[in-house]
Symmetry: C2
Subunit: 424 residues, 2 copies
């Protein structure tokens, strides 16, 4: 019944072949309003065209004056200055001038009167009628922002390939921009394959519901991509090929789920070969050794096996790095990771092992506990938070520190963080 011989290759070799065959790189870029740019990948370097702040301005509320007039001021021996007026930010471009031993009350961002070289904080003086009593000696420049102190004109503020965070957006707005050029998010079309599958709307206890598509779809969103659900194709090469064609038209890459093993009805490789090329089928990895990749019209097609653990392996090992590359960022930046200690020793294996791990905090330390067995057990994945890829011939000792790649940006909420360890 075995019609196909798999040629097993390392995960790295499979990814390399796929890159060579598709030559994929970052997608086109597009302008996006700042309000929508959170989490997008910057497609341009951003250089400041101005100094921030643009002019000398107080960054505290207080009294603008000359520092030398406050010499030896103290709470025991205050220095008296004449209060000449008040200046607020909206007074721009009004100009005032400091007379001898005078001070102006100024608020943050107000114009600074000519001749003033410091702003004494409000709490370091007392106002008494038309005078103030300065309680503390001031230094030249105190309380004043210099132009360019925050951002200097001509400086590189944000780099191409950076994921935009809240504070980055604030900086972009400060530069006078309302839009930013970002890489288009990669779209991944997801096709489930199998005569046995039904849509959740046709759920029944004797049916097998197409739920893995929802896992891969949500995991795609978590990995910086936009999922496109293609539905279910029966075990028939024509139907699969038709859906694959649709997929490469709608999306930047396609992932099939199921139908790629060596059984009598595993027609996904045939369908890919009909439209394009199977680049690799068979991976030296457990679980998921029947996974593979192909190319259709220059776009990557991933064959994810039908068992959930294998499917997950192929998604994280092959699809995620590809999404990262299409998105314009490094593969290590697409998913968070956590440093943890292995809870048990791991024996060496002949192939790569995709080891699912559950994270737990014990006395302020993060432990990673392997989840074994049940390649077809979805609930075991729900208990896990991430994985490591253990190379062949590598054993790991109990307590060894490892970097666990988390399954998504939401995983942190699932750890058993004890409250105490969150205080520093």
């Amino acid at each position: 019944m075995i019609r196909r011989r798999l040629r097993f290759r390392t995960p790295q070799a499979v990814l390399r072949s796929l890159r060579l065959a598709t030559q994929y790189g970052p997608l086109t870029s597009e302008a996006m309003a700042i309000e929508k740019a959170l989490g997008q990948v910057l497609a341009q370097d951003i250089t400041s065209t101005l100094d921030i702040p643009h002019f000398v301005r107080p960054w505290v509320d207080g009294y603008a004056t000359k520092a030398r007039w406050t010499r030896r001021a103290s709470s025991m021996g205050p220095v008296t200055l004449r209060l000449a007026g008040r200046l607020f930010p909206e007074d721009y471009p009004k100009s005032s001038e400091l007379g001898d031993r005078e001070a102006f009350y100024v608020t943050c961002g107000a114009p600074v009167p000519k001749g003033a070289d410091c702003v004494i904080k409000a709490e370091d003086a007392r106002s008494v009628g038309s005078e103030i009593r300065v309680l503390k000696e001031a230094k030249v420049g105190e309380g004043l922002s210099r132009p360019g102190e925050d951002v200097r004109r001509g400086s590189l503020v944000l780099k191409r390939g950076q994921v935009l965070r809240a504070q980055d957006l604030g900086l972009i707005v400060a530069l006078g921009k309302r839009e930013v050029t970002v890489f288009r998010k990669p779209k991944l079309a997801i096709l489930s394959v199998g005569d046995e599958l039904v849509d959740p709307d046709h759920f029944g206890p004797d049916r097998i519901v197409n739920n893995y598509a929802y896992v891969i779809s949500a995991a795609t969103s978590e990995s910086g991509g936009t999922p496109v659900l293609l539905g279910i194709a029966p075990d028939d090469p024509d139907s699969i090929a038709a859906k694959l064609s649709e997929g490469v038209q709608l999306a930047d890459a396609v992932a099939t789920i199921g139908g790629c093993s060596v059984g009598a009805k595993d027609f996904v490789p045939d369908a890919i070969a009909r439209l394009g090329e199977v680049i690799a089928h068979g991976v030296k990895i457990r679980p998921g050794h029947v996974a593979g990749v192909g190319v259709v019209r220059g776009k990557p097609v991933f064959m994810l096996p039908g068992h959930i653990s294998s499917c997950t392996m192929a998604f994280y090992v092959f699809v995620v790095p590809t999404l990262a590359r299409l998105a314009g960022i490094g593969p290590s930046k697409i998913l968070p990771s956590a440093r943890a200690e292995l809870s048990v020793a791991i024996d060496k294996a002949a192939t790569h092992t995709f080891l699912r791990l559950r994270l737990k905090e014990r006395r302020g330390r993060l432990l990673a506990e392997p989840i074994h067995g049940g390649t077809n057990i979805l609930s075991s994945l729900s208990r896990a938070n991430g994985f490591v890829l253990v190379p062949p011939g590598t054993s790991m000792r109990k307590g060894q520190a490892i970097n666990v790649t988390l399954f998504g940006k939401l995983e942190h909420a699932s750890f058993d963080y004890s409250k105490s360890s969150r205080d520093c």
Copy 2:
């Protein structure tokens, strides 16, 4: 010019007073389609109403037979069985029966013929015409999933308060659900206060642009909330009060930015007092000691100071725990954290310190480098990734391991992770 005396209290005491005054808890819940539920907070326990799988089924492609007929089978001495037919998942509910020394070819999820107690993997047998040669002894139960092996009927599958991840959604679909009950996301209205501020559309090099609202807005999204931008109110108690009224109508909480210090034009506390109550004004923390909280129509109002570092402090120390509570999850679950080693010693201080930190990886270890100074320097925030709150009188030594709370779920993409350390 100081019109108001602040009463400085610890951050914990301020939060406690706010909780007592507002008695806020999780918001109402709502039904949500699975496709939209990624990252939502579950408002119900989910208990399985069925066994998954629902019936005995093969989880490999191969040959269903009786294990005892394969006794002593090996590649050197294969055992021959008659191939009686093929069964696929769509053959349900067709029933077949195993005759003496017979086997059926079955694929994953297919019905199991009566009398079969194992499924031999396809690669452990060879098919030759109407016979198969079994190359390996099989065990009873091998290759078969038992009903309830994945999820047992009546078992608690997901808990109220859990943040829904990709794999959780797959599990919910497997239970036959298309919808799930989640807590409504809290809305935070954001009001910037200051005569000097202009909207980004009116940007000019001599103007101060209202960019902090964009930082707080995006940080709200990253913290599980929905931001509502109220725009800018001038330094005038009536205008501020009008906008605050609008805010508490539109949202579950309001954050004001600026106008809460002790300057001549700091009218936010007055505006709050007019509509409700100032619960606390003044916090024993640096930076941001002029922050405060109030209550208007039972809803929390946060006074975030106008300097970016102070504003950020008040957001993370007061707003984020409140958003977490409104969202129905623990405060430690709303933002990710990273364990890192302090790059320098930190001297003890008289008040709490909101210490901004930049994370860097050095030889597989994560270092946390304090970002000092520049409370009004936005670019310093862009260099930082998270914070620790250092209690008063606490010094920390160089190399000490600390839990850094990250500013958002996107921060991990900003660390300097070296490639090598991502391999295990």
